[in-house]
Symmetry: C2
Subunit: 732 residues, 2 copies
């Protein structure tokens, strides 16, 4: 891509400095894997169509920059290159061994290579975890070997890897020819998809820096690879296909540091198994349990990773991200030579969350001076069907200079006077010095092809349909906002953690995994949550005194470790307005509960709570995902959470900014902003509770599950109150 | 397309009989327009790049089957064809004149041609309504001329039309070369988009029967063209691009008869201007006011038209609809040679509303016998990366025979042993005699290209990405359901229409366009709506007697023609539980209202209503769209309609089936089904009210706007009740 003129400018760009992103995690040095001086191809073969033949051929035809040693005990040479019978026979230091032998020989081959100093491996061979049973054990032995001898292993059951860097030029994969060099780094858990992606990319003229199929990830996983791509100066955009993630919090940390660090790179991810049926198919395919898809949405959102839903979107987005100019905002201008497609572009602009620029007066004046009288001077600018490149240039000049424009889409339909190539040349020229992103949409196939070619050659993002162009521009605008957004820290509150630990210890000792309400409230009190005034009364007198102290009306609930369905046993009374009714309720309740559950039922007393003013009901919750850890949940109470499933999730711990994002994430957020003249709810108070919850579940791994239901929230400035809560501890 | 083997089978197909669909509307005979024996090209030109040169060239190069008469006073010949100086000089009957002269000469040219017997015209010339002002008048004169002299005019401001029928072979358009013949009929309001669509179609190998750019539709509109395409045996699928519709109810009638008649044809429509900004762009482009987008959703839904959001979807859907086999249900099987893409396909299957088939036991057994041990025998069937065509055949054989499978997607990724062409040949063969739709997804570009070519040649729907394939299959499955769905009639209730007419007449005479509640309730009573018992009491005694008769508690509201904000003047009392409080309330209310509004305020009395048991609150409404007529609205009360805009619209009159569809259309429909142990609501009672409302607003064009808010609905079998209502009459 001829971007020299542009990269000298002072405009906002991604990737301004090259170099590894800062992460809190030790980075594995995988450079010998990506850029070895010498490769042994163990299991290289003459048999066409086999991996052993294809990989050797791909390395040779791709003009690998180092030395290739084919290892095959039965052949003297392969592709004219002298073979050795075994890795041990190579009289050179071997940086990388590509292993394509039957699965039951892999372990022995790795040991032998390790004995001769090789530390890096690509294991192409299948027959491991994906088979289940014996295969799992075989893979575990590989893992152990890697650990014991300090090896790096890519795979097994993978396609291999490609590095197009000049001087390296390594196609150590059997996914077709070496792709064109470019700025995309791709990692894929599926080999077949990786091969298809290479083929699609060729068709779209997209180039790669590095390309990795990582298969069963016995050793090297997606997190290692992300860190490695982050440090590769040739990689500007990271594409990934995953069916599961190895770890949630580590992924969030690493990906966050890549997408929002000193040298941000966008990560576009496809994660399949979104539906239950898809997850079942994934489980039967890879043998890995992926966890619920909601966790993945949370993980990607927290990490700044752009989740895409299809291969088509992946490449569409890649196209616009390959060009480093970031838009300063969402205000978009459209220049078109046809009305209908201009309307389509406008619809798409709004649908995908962009804004249509409202031009400044001078822009309209300038357009009026240069456009034909039938043209449209408003956005979308219609340069009319007979427009040639000069009219497109005038429109682009005027529009890009407008302060109300953050990015521009140039739309060209093939009409009688249209010369797509000349228009494309104008777009390329303007784009090379414009500080705002310019994207082209050339509608049609053959008629606009000469223009498309020019645009692609010069790295101008180019689309066939206005919808795809706008969707991609919107993704980039959101990424630009993500980069600019302040990332706040994890807030730590002063809490009484020791008291909660002790409380949980006592409950566990007593064999009570499900905490009684009063105990749960106590725990939340130690973490500074606003709790409705309550008191556990042991007698009618205590209840009456407590009620008088907190003020009427009050609610009373029976409290005992085994009493679950309180209402069914007459254990709940609402709206008690004076002392005498409190006393009466106390006695009646004890009697009723003993009557229903037997006189020996353990009763701690009666919980007296101040009856709350009505407010909006919120639910906060946490479940602990076996792989990803504590997952926080937020939703509106009542039908919203239970029936409409309108909830937001995030992995704990959450940063301060994430707590407010989470609240805005639900579809019914508008109800918290205040509708029909209601005041807005106290969102700060909810965010505060979410962060306290985050701290609490991070501090106490013992909490298996909890919810606050409801949290009553009042208008802005009036706070919120925990009205009821439940904590379940894990059985230890 | 070689579909001969298939079309002899007895499987369910669209378009089994050729012939015009039945419509309730007179069909204009446009055949001379589409298949003329002779064409005059008035304004034919030598100047390259002009419409006058392009159209003549396209007619000649396209080998038009009739005679072409170029009309140009300055040239003796054009493209070697002898010119005449004027249409009047042609010594032959001219069926069709294509007019490409300056806009101010068009009227004269048409008159002259009409004098010489020509009845059909394509007016390419621009400079009419789209200019506004003088252009509008010019267009109105064309309209008048057409009416007066019985002419058919396509355009003005259009690209022309194409008919690929053998023997006709007419390319009377300037949108590029004659496309390949095929089963798609396309009509487009945008000329530039039409040209781009032709170019896209060429790239995807899609063929056309007829292709029409209809421009400003001064005379011939989209409804005429739909009727004409319905009667064309070569057209199997209708594609349309519109920016506005000329009429709502006529469109619904005609399109419904095409999509659900004796000989159903699918109609795929792009309607732009979905967003406010897009609609504004459309208005400034065509000068037409499109009406709110909600009306279009209602119109398309009632007409069985499949609304698509982009050109890409249009062609994706066209691909699958070109193949006539309809699936019997939504159960879908997937055959893949790679796990990852299989999961993507599964996710897409569910996301777009299809179901994943659960195979019968014999299918699994049969697969087990023929698949490799590492393959997956469940759906998606994984034939494993090294699968060749024989293994695909075995899997297809087993899966298509399964009764739990309605349609099959065959997914091929390019791997080392994959021969896409051989696999494609197997798919073509199986598809030719299989009674279930089979769709192929070939992932990649160049590697699978030989396979794609074979599939396209034989008319097997073929996609690049699993998501596009599944989305298209889902659209076809929904269309199959539409075709099979019983279309119920418009139900007519016994009502007292005369009484309502009289009531409205009286109100109008009294100058009261906004009816007082009691009058509105009266009108609804005449139409048989269930109304909360009410009585207009003129004295405290009458009020007390009425309350006793209907039963306590009751509500009381002041009633008078000018009293709008009843609560503000002390004109509302709730929950009155005995006679004495009713009497007291009556006197207090009259006094308070007179106190606030003056003693001469007109008071009709006090409306006494039985206080209703609480139930779910529903809103029914109607607004009269200036172009489309009465638009019914349905939604849940409270925040759902006002804040969440969760409402459904349909044009009245509605058929019985539409009333229940409308109810299911809202996002919060689940709340009516009963959540959290609640009983389901009485949907039949709501549907009954919707149909009565439909009849009422169709009977009385005088009603400008009305709403029933709330309609209280009770559990199934317990009915519903109108609690409050509002009617506004149009000022006549």
């Amino acid at each position: 891509m001829a971007r020299s003129a542009k990269s000298n400018s002072s405009k906002p760009e991604m990737n301004q400095a090259a170099g590894p992103a800062e992460t809190g995690r030790a980075v594995r040095d995988l450079e010998p894997l990506f850029a070895p001086q010498s490769i042994a191809v163990i299991g290289a073969s003459r048999r066409l169509g086999t991996a052993g033949s294809e990989i050797l051929k791909n390395l040779v035809i791709g003009s690998f920059g180092g030395v290739i040693y084919p290892v095959n005990p039965k052949s003297k040479s392969l592709m004219g290159i002298r073979c050795v019978p075994a890795a041990s026979a190579i009289d050179d230091k071997v940086d990388l061994a590509v292993v394509i032998v039957p699965s039951n020989s892999v372990e022995a081959v790795l040991s032998e290579c390790a004995d001769h100093g090789t530390k890096h491996f690509i294991v192409i061979s299948a027959g491991f975890k994906e088979l289940g049973g014996e295969g799992v054990e075989r893979e575990n032995r590989l893992k152990a070997l890697a650990k014991e001898r300090g090896l790096s292993i890519l795979g097994p059951n993978c396609l291999g890897l490609i590095n197009t860097a000049p001087g390296v030029s390594m196609n150590a994969a059997f996914g077709g020819a070496l792709p064109k060099a470019g700025c995309m780094g791709l990692i894929s858990q599926s080999g077949a998809l990786a091969a298809a992606l290479l083929d699609y990319a060729k068709g779209r003229g997209i180039g790669f820096s590095r390309f990795v199929s990582f298969g069963n990830k016995a050793d090297i996983n997606e997190i290692d690879l992300l860190q490695s791509l982050a440090g590769d100066p040739a990689t500007k955009v990271i594409l990934m296909y995953v069916e599961d993630l190895s770890s949630g919090q580590a992924f969030v940390d690493v990906a966050h540091s890549i997408t929002h660090g000193r040298n941000p790179k966008p990560i576009l991810a496809i994660k399949t198994g979104r539906t239950q049926e898809g997850a079942a198919a994934a489980a039967s395919h890879t043998g890995s349990l992926a966890g619920s898809d909601e966790v993945y949405d949370a993980v990607f959102s927290q990490a700044g990773v752009i989740r895409v839903e299809s291969v088509e979107d992946l490449f569409d987005y890649a196209e616009v991200f390959a060009e480093p100019t970031l838009p300063r905002g969402r205000r978009t201008a459209i220049i078109t030579n046809a009305g209908g497609p201009g309307i389509m572009a406008t619809d798409a602009c709004i649908r995908y969350g962009l804004k249509l620029s409202k031009f400044q007066e001078y822009t309209v004046k300038s357009l009026k001076f240069q456009m034909p009288p039938t043209g449209s001077l408003k956005n979308p600018v219609d340069v009319i069907g007979d427009a040639r490149h000069d009219r497109y240039r005038a429109a682009l000049d005027a529009v890009t200079a407008d302060e109300e424009v953050d990015q521009v889409m140039v739309l060209v339909t093939p009409q009688a006077m249209t010369n797509a190539k000349e228009i494309a040349e104008v777009v390329v020229e303007m784009e090379s010095y414009c500080e705002k992103p310019i994207v082209a949409c050339m509608m049609g196939e053959s008629d606009v092809e000469p223009g498309v070619r020019v645009l692609k050659e010069h790295g101008v993002p180019t689309y066939q349909f206005p919808e795809n162009a706008m969707r991609s521009m919107a993704a980039k605008a959101r990424f630009a906002e993500w980069i600019r957004s302040p990332i706040l820290d994890y807030r730590r509150f002063e809490v009484n953690r020791a008291a909660v630990d002790e409380l949980f210890r006592q409950e566990a000792t007593a064999g009570r995994n499900q905490l009684v309400e009063v105990r749960a409230l106590e725990a939340f009190t130690h973490y500074g949550f606003p709790i409705v005034p309550y008191k556990l009364a042991k007698s009618a007198d205590e209840a009456a005194a407590a009620a008088t102290e907190m003020g009427f009306p009050v609610v009373m609930k029976i409290s005992g470790p085994k009493i679950l369905h309180k209402t069914d046993v007459g254990g709940v009374k609402l709206n008690l307005t004076d002392e005498s009714s409190v006393r009466a309720a106390y006695e009646a309740m004890i009697q009723s509960v003993r009557g229903k559950l037997g006189s020996e039922v353990e009763i701690w007393g009666v919980l007296v709570q101040k009856m709350l003013q009505p407010g909006k009901e919120i639910i906060l919750g946490m479940t602990r995902d076996p792989r990803f850890g504590p997952l926080l949940m937020f939703g509106l109470g009542g039908i919203y959470t239970e029936a409409l499933r309108d909830v937001a999730f995030r992995l704990a711990p959450i940063r301060e900014n994430v707590s407010s994002e989470m609240i805005k994430d639900i579809r019914s957020y508008r109800l918290l902003e205040g509708v029909r003249g209601e005041p807005p709810s106290d969102l700060t108070a909810i965010a505060d509770c979410l962060m306290r919850l985050s701290q609490m579940v991070t501090d106490s791994p013992r909490i298996k599950e909890l919810d606050i239901n409801p949290l009553i929230v009042y208008p802005r400035g009036k706070g919120c109150m925990v009205a009821d809560a439940r904590i379940i501890l894990s059985e230890s």
